[in-house]
């Protein structure tokens, strides 16, 4: 059998397992409207996905993943609850590393279910663990929901919380905002001059473009209001730092996060969910005592996940991308649902890498 045939056969086998677990098989078009993906991920997606155009439909993207079209399909006419599986090529632009595939097969499993989100998290993770058990892989887990809960509970203005919430997935800007809101970073001279000016528009040019003078004035008012706010408290900043530094096996991580929750009670509900997830995982036979947990896991690569996240990587093969990844993306269903929303969790695996690790070539 050729490599490609072996990979296809493996993909078919995996999809059949997901089907047997109760998932409905779905297909999605390879060409996706670029606008939806750009609005979700921002311009960065252009560096990772192939964009093509025609005069009729404008920009189209070669499917960089299945999650967005599957969520759209579910939000448009899905049953509630629903489980889906799919298998097919995804395309990733590669400009720096020739060894990374720009086209490969993903097999996925997605659960849309309101009844017990932590049980659904455990269901997906346990299915993946069982399928991947024969391979020498290392599992890692995380939960972006804890950091998000901490940000949403900060005792400061809604504007500051929203600014931090918006940059949860961009660690550098998140840190810069924290430094500014806590008074650790000095106010830039131009900002200080602007806030002190009697007429901030004295050197302004003429009205030009769509961003109006009123919008500029509104932001100056917001900056003035923000300058009058007290800095974020040291203990809240320390709490955020402690969350971001949490990296233990799951039971120790839980203990640590319980300690942090004494100072940051806003994360208590998120930590309860983590606890409940640990129970559900244990009930499915996952060895939670030895399961790695890292609070900032997936923070830079997995932007639409807003709760549980997980990944399986090949031991001793740092050159390979993860063999499987997944997580919870409740907020994505809200963004694509036009008013509707549903708790959702899922994951994808790469049969090509699985075949490779089974010793079957590329």
């Amino acid at each position: 059998m050729t490599d490609r045939a072996r990979i296809q056969a493996e993909a078919t086998r995996l999809r059949a397992v997901f089907e047997a677990a109760g998932a409905q098989v779905v297909e999605t078009p390879i060409l996706q409207p670029a606008e939806t993906l750009l609005d979700l991920y921002g311009e960065d997606i252009r560096a990772r996905a192939y964009v093509t155009t025609d005069a009729l439909r404008g920009e189209q993207m070669l499917r960089p993943d299945f999650t967005v079209p599957v969520v759209q399909m579910h939000m448009a006419h899905g049953a509630d609850p629903a489980r889906y599986t799919y298998s097919g090529e995804v395309f990733r632009r590669q400009e720096l590393n020739e060894d990374r595939a720009n086209e490969y097969i993903q097999v996925g499993y997605e659960v849309f279910d309101r009844t017990d989100p932590e049980a659904a998290d455990a269901e997906v993770f346990a299915l993946f663990r069982d399928l991947l058990a024969p391979l020498p892989l290392q599992a890692a887990t995380g939960d972006i929901g804890i950091l998000i809960a901490a940000v949403e509970g900060l005792r400061t203005t809604p504007a500051r919380r929203a600014a931090l919430r918006r940059h949860v997935w961009r660690p550098r800007r998140f840190r810069a905002l924290l430094d500014r809101f806590s008074g650790r970073a000095a106010v830039p001279p131009a900002r200080a001059a602007l806030l002190a000016a009697a007429d901030p528009f004295i050197d302004a040019g003429p009205e030009l473009g769509l961003r109006s003078r009123t919008e500029v004035a509104a932001r100056i008012a917001a900056l003035r209001a923000d300058a009058a706010e007290p800095p974020l408290s040291e203990h809240e900043i320390a709490g955020l730092d402690a969350i971001l530094a949490t990296r233990e096996t799951l039971p120790f991580a839980l203990e640590r996060l319980r300690d942090i929750a004494v100072d940051l009670p806003a994360i208590s509900a998120a930590v309860d969910r983590l606890d409940r997830r640990a129970e559900r995982l244990a009930a499915r036979g996952v060895d939670v005592d030895n399961l790695d947990f890292e609070a900032s896991y997936g923070r830079t690569q997995m932007e639409y996940y807003d709760g549980f996240v997980f990944g399986f990587t090949a031991k001793g093969r740092p050159d390979l991308p993860p063999v499987a990844t997944g997580g919870r993306y409740d907020a994505l269903t809200r963004q694509l649902g036009q008013g509707a929303e549903i708790p959702a969790v899922g994951g994808v695996m790469r049969p090509g890498l699985m075949v490779l690790l089974q010793g079957g070539g590329a």
Binding site: G42, A163, R172, R173, A176, G205, G209, E215
Partner: protein, 231 residues
């Protein structure tokens, strides 16, 4: 086979390139008919002169169709993400200096830094329903720069010329473009961000790392580089 030297096919960049080589004792000359894109190099054997659009020099060097080429740093960085593996930078030539900068209307007195631009983009998107548009032809450089800085909620729109005019025409809210003196920006009521310098560029002589060479080519190349003081 000969060693192929690519130089910009028109305008100031071509004239300055000819002057630069002449000052080092190598005469480049166009054919008598100025409309014909043909030229020769005098006094050095085994080297042929090719007139190419400056924008195509990076690609031709990377593909090995040119051994040497003159073009701006901006075009190399924009078109070749792995330029260091494909090209060798031989010498900056001291002309064609230009900076790739982010510029916004002077009306935006609240925006001086990337931090401000990011906050303004978030507010703009909330107000207008679409991402703040930045017009440029340097998509890769601008995108990498803004990603590094953690700026979100912007869209790049393509502009291959008269980029400063896109704001007045309401097809963009901000621009990222090449400027040498800043005069065009000022004339169009724009200002640069204080931390918005994306790249300093100038005309540079590059060598391809991929172009095939015979023994005779190597000798010709080394004679040329010796003549211009680079051996």
């Amino acid at each position: 086979m000969t060693v192929r030297l690519g130089v910009p096919s028109k305008g100031r960049l071509m004239d300055k390139t000819f002057d630069w080589f002449a000052a080092r004792g190598v005469r480049l000359a166009r054919s008598a008919d100025q409309r014909e894109y043909a030229a020769q190099i005098e006094g050095i054997g085994g080297v042929s002169l090719v007139l190419v659009s400056a924008g195509e020099v990076p690609r031709d060097l990377a593909a090995g169709r040119l051994h040497l080429g003159v073009t701006g740093t901006d075009l190399v960085r924009e078109k070749l993400p792995r330029w260091e593996q494909q090209l060798r930078e031989l010498v900056p030539m001291g002309f064609g200096e230009a900076n790739l900068v982010l510029a916004v209307p002077r009306l935006w007195v609240d925006v001086d830094t990337l931090d401000d631009l990011d906050a303004a983009a978030a507010a703009f998107r909330a107000q207008h329903g679409w991402r703040l548009r930045i017009a440029t032809k340097y998509h890769r450089l601008v995108r990498d720069f803004l990603r590094e800085a953690g700026v979100a909620d912007y869209a790049l729109v393509d502009s291959q010329g008269a980029t400063e005019g896109t704001i007045r025409n309401e097809t963009a809210e901000a621009i990222a473009d090449i400027t040498s003196t800043g005069d065009t920006l000022r004339a169009n009521h724009l200002k640069t961000l204080s931390d918005g310098l994306i790249l300093r560029s100038q005309a540079t002589l590059w060598q391809s790392r991929t172009a095939p060479m015979t023994g005779a080519d190597r000798a010709a190349l080394s004679a040329l580089l010796g003549r211009i003081g680079l051996s």
